[in-house]
């Protein structure tokens, strides 16, 4: 049976409607009898995957199985809160069992709206994983890669990306530049050294500026450099830094202050011509509206594993396009979300660059990803991530492959402190 045939028999009675008590369907599903496909979700599986014992971000993968044998994968990894997200995906089981997976938007709306409290990273991540799996199924059922359903890839060469600059000294940075030139990598991201208090000292500001100046000098003028403040600076400290870093012509400065106070970030942004990027902690298109309409930032970085999956990231991309902003999505979790992001990136005219929390040389995680998926996932070729061309998200993942890395429980993210013992942001 060809994949497309799942969709042709809309007039036939829903398969699971006749299946007795085991054939439960979500509330509201009967309103679409005769309109949808014959595909039905038969199982929701959640995998906690710890690739190392200490990992603060065990991957949370979601698998949706169907009556026709097709399976869809998504990623719901939430750093430091794996157990909560796994439980939240379970809470959505009743929304999904017996549902027609082709109704992606309908299910997204139901999960978000019917949860009443809206937003929040735990629910956002759970919806993200389910949404990606629904899109994977959707592409597989239609026989096309997801980017095709999103309007088609705009650049056949793939998706421009950046690695993290894992180099501290001038010598290491110069070697990094050589490797980048050799491999065609055109962009890196780095951070600012240390932790910052509400107001900070001359010595610390001077050190940060000197450190970043050294990075620009060592990498040269032709490599783009993004600097992540990681919201560890207050508006007061960030204002001083963005002003002094302007001569370095950075690609962007990320999260110059925490994201809850949009006006505070707007004031920082007005102190510099360096583009400001933010959004990795924001959930759903509702979460970015104020940033777009008030011209707070230039680049949005919502994360496909937290913001609400492909559905929400695409909507954010559309809103950003209308507001004159570009997209540089965050990705610091597992390979499934990374791959899902590439599909959205490739179809957005206002896409800028895609993150992956890896170095220019592949590390142990990337080797495990290749072992799972059979190709070097989220590794760039000539500075770009190749676009998956198989139906759906573009990979198969046997459950057994994950068994070697059983869930080792939730681990907290880094906890750091100032010299007086008070809580510091990293």
């Amino acid at each position: 049976m060809k994949r497309r045939m799942f969709l042709t028999a809309a007039s036939a009675p829903p398969l699971l409607a006749q299946a007795g008590p085991a054939g439960a369907r979500p509330v509201g599903a009967q309103a679409f009898d005769g309109l949808g496909s014959k595909l039905r979700i038969t199982a929701v599986k959640v995998f906690g995957v710890s690739i190392s014992r200490e990992s603060d971000r065990p991957y949370v993968f979601v698998k949706l199985e169907t009556n026709e044998g097709l399976a869809g994968w998504g990623e719901a990894t939430l750093e430091g809160k794996a157990g909560a997200v796994m439980a939240c995906v379970e809470d959505f089981r009743e929304f999904l069992i017996g549902a027609d997976p082709m109704q992606v938007e309908h299910h997204w709306q139901s999960m978000y709206v019917h949860s009443f409290y809206r937003a929040g990273p735990v629910m956002g991540s759970a919806i993200s994983g389910i949404d990606q799996a629904l899109w994977d199924l959707r592409g597989k059922a239609l026989g096309v890669p997801v980017h095709q359903v999103l309007g088609g890839a705009l650049d056949s060469r793939g998706v421009r990306g950046y690695y993290h600059a894992r180099a501290a000294t001038r010598a290491e940075l110069e070697k990094l530049r050589e490797t980048a030139v050799r491999d065609g990598v055109s962009c890196f991201k780095t951070g600012i050294p240390g932790y910052y208090e509400w107001i900070d000292s001359h010595a610390k500001v001077k050190r940060a500026v000197a450190h970043l100046t050294m990075i620009r000098e060592a990498l040269g003028p032709d490599i783009d450099i993004a600097v992540d403040f990681h919201a560890k600076t207050s508006p007061a400290v960030a204002s001083v830094l963005v002003r002094e870093l302007e001569p370095l012509h950075l690609l962007f400065i990320e999260e110059p202050c925490p994201p809850e106070n949009v006006e505070a970030m707007r004031r920082i942004a007005r102190r510099t011509t360096t583009p400001i990027a933010t959004g990795e902690r924001l959930v759903a298109h509702y979460g970015v509206r104020e940033i777009i309409e008030r011209g707070v930032a230039d680049i949005l970085q919502t994360d496909i594993n937290h913001t609400g999956g492909i559905t929400a990231l695409w909507k954010i991309g559309a809103m950003a396009e209308l507001g004159g902003l570009s997209l540089a999505p965050h990705a610091c979790e597992g390979p499934i979300g990374g791959i899902a992001t590439l599909h959205v990136d490739s179809a957005l005219p206002n896409f800028l660059v895609q993150e992956i929390c890896g170095g220019v040389e592949p590390g142990p995680a990337e080797k495990i990803w290749e072992e799972w998926l059979g190709f070097p996932a989220m590794r760039m070729v000539a500075g770009r991530f190749p676009l998956p061309q198989k139906p759906g998200l573009g990979f198969e993942l046997p459950d057994e492959a994950l068994k070697r890395y059983p869930f080792n429980g939730t681990r907290p993210m880094a906890r750091v402190f100032h010299s007086d013992g008070s809580v510091a942001a990293w």
Partner: protein, 240 residues
Amino acid sequence: MPRSPQDELDWLLAESRRARVPLYQWLGGPVRNKVRILTPMQAGTPEELRRLWPLGARAFSVPVAAGGPARRFVSDTVRRLEALRAAGGDAADFVLSCRAQLTPLQASQVARALEGFHLLWMDEPCPVRYTEGLRKLAEETAVPLGFGTAVEEPAAFLGLLRDGLGAVLRPSLPHFGVQMTRKIAALAESYYVAVAPLAGESQAWRNAALQVAGCTANFFIQELAGVPLEDGYIALEARP
């Protein structure tokens, strides 16, 4: 029933003593183990800095000298601060204490000239009633501004925060009392703004200020004269 800040402090001290805990414990528990201290200078000279340095002072509040010739005001101020930095080195930090003596224009000129100097903040550059001038100043400069020494109504801090005027709020602890000062700090926290309360002169309030500092997340520094310090800090004490 309304009570004075002094009555409130007396009550808090009595309650915490009865519970055999320090006041910071009664108020929510310690968030730090030592308190950064801002040492006020009288003359603001390198000699004074060299005298205070061995006593542990590392952050200094320098009074602005607004009385001199207007045309030399900016360059004189920059020169004074540079002499102080030369005396203290990169480990020395400074607040420029303006005591609301500048016009918004003077404040803008000084702030622009001092951007690369990394003041901790410029304190009370002009009277807070110059709202528009201050808004322009706050938008133009990256130098953090501090306000509040002359604010009498707690709700007025909301206006300062909403207008983005301050990076540091300076509520007077004896004026507002312990809980209201902590409420002002809570408000400032949601704007990512720090507090550096004023302790006043009496020993009771100076002690109380260190207790409040010990349990307030967005406390940054306590202005206090004449206390022995260790590398700019005073340790939080464990006794009730």
